[in-house]
Amino acid sequence: MANQLSIVYFSWVRERIGRDQDTINCPENAETIGQLLDYLKTKDTVYQDLFADLKKLRFALDQDFVGLEAPLGSAKELAIFPPVTGG
């Protein structure tokens, strides 16, 4: 059975997507975050726009920062957001 994954969005990523979060079924062949993004781009043009410049995005898997090559494993939550600007 495909792994269910929540995708949460923050800052202008959330505004651009127009939602706080999505729940998706991870395809079997998406083993890394990069591969998942490629899959998402095939599903919705908003992702195509968003993922056009990945240098502007950061990713956290189950609340830990990760790179595009990180394996999704059995993670429950992927967060997509711009570089942080707190403090």
Binding site: V8, F10, Q63, P83, T85, G86, G87
Partner: protein, 147 residues
């Protein structure tokens, strides 16, 4: 002892320093960041990633405890709408030695700026809005602790 709070309400930096210093040590270093305005800024809107924020801040605090002999660390970060002049963040550290307290405070702020999941949106006086972008100087400051 690590105390981490994310809240909308304001805080009293002196009272927080007093509470922390009761843990021991004679050197207390505090840093407060405020909303700085140039006349066009009306307010900041601060968003965060609740499930991750405390985890990220605790990781930073634990690393500081590894590197310096501290009695305690207090981190308070506000979220929501904050007007010009309001306090945003407090980092307070407590040690037997002033260099340890000051360096740890500086380290925590530098790390917080680059890996704690907060985002600032500027609300300008004309009603327009824009998300603040990351600054190279913050990235450089955070990296400077690596060696």
């Amino acid at each position: 002892m690590i105390s981490i709070t994310v809240q909308h309400d304001n805080f009293d930096s002196g009272a927080e320093a007093d509470r922390l210093s009761a843990l021991g040590g004679g050197a207390i270093s505090s840093f407060v960041g405020q909303v700085r305005g140039d006349g066009n800024l009306y307010a900041l809107e601060l968003e965060h990633y609740p499930a991750m924020t405390e985890k990220a801040l605790r990781k930073i605090a634990m690393k500081a405890l590894d590197q310096w002999a501290l009695y305690g660390i207090t981190i308070i970060h506000r979220v929501g709408r904050l007007r010009v002049g309001e306090q945003i963040v407090l980092v307070c550290t407590c040690s037997d030695h002033r260099q340890a307290a000051i360096e740890a405070c500086s380290y925590i702020m530098d790390q917080l700026k680059t890996i704690a999941p907060f985002w600032k949106k500027e609300i300008l006086c004309d009603g327009s809005e824009n998300w603040v972008e990351e600054r190279q100087s913050d990235l450089d400051a955070a990296k400077s602790w690596d060696d």
